[in-house]
């Protein structure tokens, strides 16, 4: 992975540089918001790890400028607990993920890999996570090379959730996305589809959890 770390705290950035380099990644460091912004205009990275409190230009403005240019590079925002409302803002501005300082190095490494994978999956129409593989074009999912034999609606649901990882989708929202106007959307049918899909995904890194009374939420286990 080619990573840009934008962080002005020396202690933290040195530890991160060392760990990421130790894992064999190419990682560059910027300590100034405006300089990072200038660099991002010309160079491309697989993932940007962006601190919020930066000299000369804060992280949000860097992020906003990237998104305004149409730069879709995945961005992981670093925030402190006391800036807790920043998270919401960060995601609204276009961050792909966030981590609260202080954090576990393995956690941030895993998140970065997940972001990069997700993005490359979008680009290539194939989502790969461990032994799991979902081919949007061929509309089929494989686990350890074995076709999960998903039905049409299950594929639709899986595609929907893989595009909305970590977001709660209500039953109504799922129904809206997989039924056309002509079909009578039945919440019961959604439940049955979810149950079947979940059973077929059993053992894969993709987990769709039910939150009773609210809806469903998909997440990826990274191991």
């Amino acid at each position: 992975m080619r990573i840009l770390l934008v962080e002005d705290s020396r202690d933290l950035s040195e530890a991160l540089l060392e760990r990421f380099r130790g894992e064999g990644h190419a990682i560059d460091l910027e300590t100034d918001g405006a300089e990072a912004e200038a660099l991002l205009r010309h160079a491309s990275f697989d993932v940007v790890i962006l601190d919020i409190n930066l000299p000369s230009m804060n992280g949000y403005d860097v992020l906003r400028a990237m998104r305004a240019r149409g730069d879709r590079t995945p961005v992981l925002v670093l925030t402190a607990r006391s800036e807790i409302d920043d998270r919401i803002v960060g995601l609204d501005v276009g961050a792909d993920d966030y981590m609260v300082k202080p954090f576990d190095f393995r956690e941030i490494s895993a998140r970065c890999r997940a972001l990069v994978r997700r993005r490359s999956g979008e680009a290539s129409n194939v989502f790969v996570q461990g032994a799991f593989e979902f081919d949007r074009g061929a509309r089929r999912a494989l686990l350890a090379g074995v076709d999960l034999e998903l039905r049409h609606r299950e594929v639709q649901v899986l595609e929907l959730f893989l595009g909305q990882l970590g977001r709660v989708l209500t039953k109504d929202e799922v129904a809206d996305r997989i039924y056309s106007f002509d079909e009578a959307p039945s919440l019961n049918a959604v439940e049955q589809t979810m149950t079947r899909l979940r059973k077929k995904l059993d053992g894969s890194p993709v987990a769709i959890r039910t939150i009773r009374g609210l809806g469903y939420i998909a997440s990826i286990r990274d191991d």
Partner: protein, 485 residues
Amino acid sequence: MSRARPSGAIPAHASGRRPYSLRRRLMVASMGAFAVLIALLSAGLWTYARSSANETYDLLLRGAAIAILERISVTPEGIDIDLPPSALEILALDQDDRVFYRVVDADGATLTGTADLPSEGSLAKSPPLQEPVFFDSQYSGETVRFVVNGRTLLSADEPQWVGVQIGQTRIARNAMERDLILKGLVPLAALSIAGVAMARAGIGFAMRPLAGIERDIRERQPNDLKPLDALPPREVESLITAINGFMRRLDLSRDQAESFIADVAHQMRTSLAALYSHLEAAGDQGEAGTVAVLRARDQARRTVRLTNQLLSHAMVIHRADKEMFETIDLGELVRRLMEEIVRDERAGGIDFAVELPPPPTPAKVMGDPIAIREALRNLVDNAVRHGPPDNQITLHVVATTLRGRPAFAIGVEDQGPGIADADKPRVVERFYSSGPGGGSGVGLAIVAAVAESHKGRLDLADRKPSGLRASMTLPQSPLPGGEAP
């Protein structure tokens, strides 16, 4: 509730209004009262001076008229007028005044004197007047005071009426009027000036206790929050009581802040000391120190959590002071919170459920979304921490009432061991942690602080067969300005 405002000086006229001066207000009021008084007295004085000047000179006029009338007699040849020189001399005592006269018969025809004196209708009356009539009239370019008097003369054949009209210019009487007014006004003005001066002195005297109180406050050390010991006048007693009450609350709040810092310092030191000793052990054991390193990592994690919780607690209290209230959609808040929890959640075996009010009821409250989210997050963390791996955790938002006002109960139910009744009042205290899964001991203190800052309530209740229902009841909108505790 204790709300310590920062002690930084807030300019009294920060809001754009200039501070008003009590002294000026009192002075303006007393001077205004004096002005009205003087105006009224002057009007009275003027009326009095005018009427007494008139009376005095009218007597002279009348005397002159009577003197002339006395000397008119009827002779067989007709009316004989023997004008006494003294009559008019009395009137001419003032050198500048001019005197006019005429004698008329019953038909108004002038028998002698100036014929064109204005009569103002006083001669046309019938029966012909016997009593003197006074009036002012313009004559020869001046205001002239006239008297008209008449007398019926008895003669041989029939009674005959003659009248006399005498006029005198007003110079002397105006001078007397002015003199009277002046002699009245000078002492009045002196009295007013003395009155204003005394009022000013009195105001200063009355304000002196306030200056003493001001000096007391100004000369204090910043940490001296003893009540003011000034014996205040009755009028400002409630102000002093309020100031003393405020100082008491400030003192309490400062004590709380100090104990918070002391508690935090103690907790952090303990936690860091443990971390340090684990690392030291790891260093001593060389290659075999892996276990100690792992322990150190756990300890570091606990320290991080403790720090985060303390910051969160401080943030919640800080935000409570600022009252950053807005309308919150609780459904949306719960949804975002669930995303966060599922994302960060350690144990995957927990069954989460959400209970929201049925759709037509909008679950909305006025509040601080960050604080409420933080409180709810802590309740969920507690439920995860203290519950079994296959815990069933339910977040509920239920419409209810609080002290007769519409409210929402927002809370979390779990299947953990619950909290013993004896511990319930204590768990909301800072750094009090119960049970084997004990955390930092700050979580419920945060929730309690959030409930308090929203004028709500925190309830902890056991569930059957086991578990805890922790629920914040928040009014849909806290009363503006807040109700006094």
